[in-house]
């Protein structure tokens, strides 16, 4: 067992990025993410969020309202018994003036599509809805960055898709996203992927670049997204088939374009 859960991590996450952190269980993903909102303080080295150092206890509130975190288990990140009260919990803790609370709640609930459920008892939501509520409850603190710690791993495929789409929309609205996952199809939509192994960064880069390193990923016992695997397989028959499609629609388009090219060249 490694002596440190994380070792020698040098990492910069820029405003507006969408970063996925992948790695096997035990590679340090969760530990890394917990440093981003000061739930964990580094043994060595520093973590800076905006201009604040996470070791500085005076600015914990600033840090945690700038970097919001959504966890894996739906039930245990809901605090209140009513949806809108859970969304209110964060801003209430920050002392947001009461006339502003309602607006923030409305905005957060609309952003995740739960506005109709505002008075619903939180226990009665489905797992997917609970995770969306968790996002809303974090959004109401107006964070600049959203950190998702395997937030979809307990969801069924339909809920997972809905969740990812909403996260994508939030990203488009300017929120920085950091997500830890071992679902490669999910990681594929990120702009940058960081691969962790035994507490160290093994490689990082754009999604296509990372997935091109299939030997490394295989050694680390990680999968490739199904679309990349399919493209690689097609490449075995057709040498110049492009391998950069990351989602199903992208791959479909790639096939269509490629076919058009080939047919065009036969004429």
């Amino acid at each position: 067992m490694p002596a440190y859960a994380l070792q020698g991590i040098d990492l910069v996450i820029n405003k507006g990025e969408y970063v996925a952190v992948v790695g096997a269980n035990g590679s340090g993903k969760t530990t890394l993410l917990r440093h981003l909102n000061a739930l964990l303080i580094p043994t060595m080295g520093d973590v800076l969020i905006s201009e604040w150092n996470t070791r500085d206890s005076l600015h914990i509130r600033d840090i945690r309202s700038t970097v919001g975190m959504v966890f894996q288990a739906p039930d245990t990140q809901i605090i209140a018994t009513v949806v809108e009260e859970d969304v209110a919990f964060g801003p209430e803790n920050l002392g947001v003036p009461e006339n502003e609370l309602q607006d923030r709640i409305d905005w957060a609930l609309e952003a995740v599509g739960l506005e109709d459920l505002r008075k619903r008892p939180s226990n009665l939501l489905s797992a997917g809805q609970k995770q969306l509520l968790a996002i809303a409850s974090t959004l109401s603190m107006k964070p600049r960055c959203l950190v998702l710690d395997e937030a979809t791993s307990m969801l069924d495929p339909a809920s997972r898709l809905r969740f990812i789409n909403i996260v994508g929309r939030l990203h488009q609205q300017g929120i920085t996203i950091v997500t830890a996952t071992h679902n490669m199809d999910e990681a594929a939509i990120a702009q940058r992927i960081i691969v962790l192994s035994e507490g160290r960064i093994s490689t990082q880069g754009g999604a296509s670049a990372v997935f091109a390193q299939d030997k490394l990923l295989k050694d680390l016992k990680l999968d490739l997204p199904s679309t990349v695997m399919l493209a690689n397989k097609i490449r075995k028959y057709l040498n110049d088939f492009p391998c950069d499609a990351l989602t199903v629609p992208e791959l479909v388009n790639t096939v269509v374009l490629y076919l058009g090219q080939k047919r065009g060249s036969i004429k």
Partner: protein, 288 residues
Amino acid sequence: MILSEMPVIEVKNLSHTYLPGTPLEVVSLKNVNLQLFKNETVGIIGPAGSGKSTLLHHLNGLLRPMHGDVQIKGISVSGWSGDIRVMRQKIGLVFQNPENQLFKQYAGDDVAFGPRNMNLSQKEVRKRVRNAMKMVGLPFSYKDRLTAGLSLGEKRRLALAGVLAMEPQVLVLDEPTASLDPEGRRELLGILSGWRSEGEKAIVIASHNMEDIVDLSSRVYVLVSGKILLHGATREVFSHYDLLVQNSLSVPAAAEVVFKLARRGYSVSTDVLNIEEAAREIKGLFHA
């Protein structure tokens, strides 16, 4: 696949209502029919809340049929006069996230829990624990490790070993690969195939993960809102792409690519289940 005449498990017109007679009443299963034969793996897919878990709990007698019947090797569960635990030994039910049920301080003791409950001799218990741990790929020396010190994958396999140690003839698994990383998933599927290949065993697996279902099952049942929407050979079931999508289900991603191409008018066969077949079909487009 050789179908013996009598199914190992037969579910006939099973219906189940949850909290009957109260304001929270919900019909969880409606007229479900299902068969499991020796030497096969059957998959059950369905959206969240479709009743998969409820159905599985009927297969080893945890739930008694409210309406309809469940028969194990021809004997009806409703009329089971003996110790119900005999049935639970023959049909091993592995719950979702089974690592949550581990409670013994030392790993080996937890695996031994099942066999000990069967009142087997000390020697026999030890033998079964050894075999079970071997089957799941855990070294026998792990028996003296602290349960709490194991990783998630190891705990999952330990929990599975705990069921295998009872030497069931049928394994029923609820989301066996949930929360596992890719390596853990591969290991688990390998263990299941390996187990089934020895002797006349059968597996029922309920999962959200379509790739799991495709990899392991020869037949699939689609459960939606407590009713069987569709069933048949795996290939047959997954060819109904539109129907599956309408019901919040999907097909393996590789197959989805092919379906979408077919929709656009390209001449590809949609009889595709995995990456190999999808690649072949797509390749075929270029040789026109």
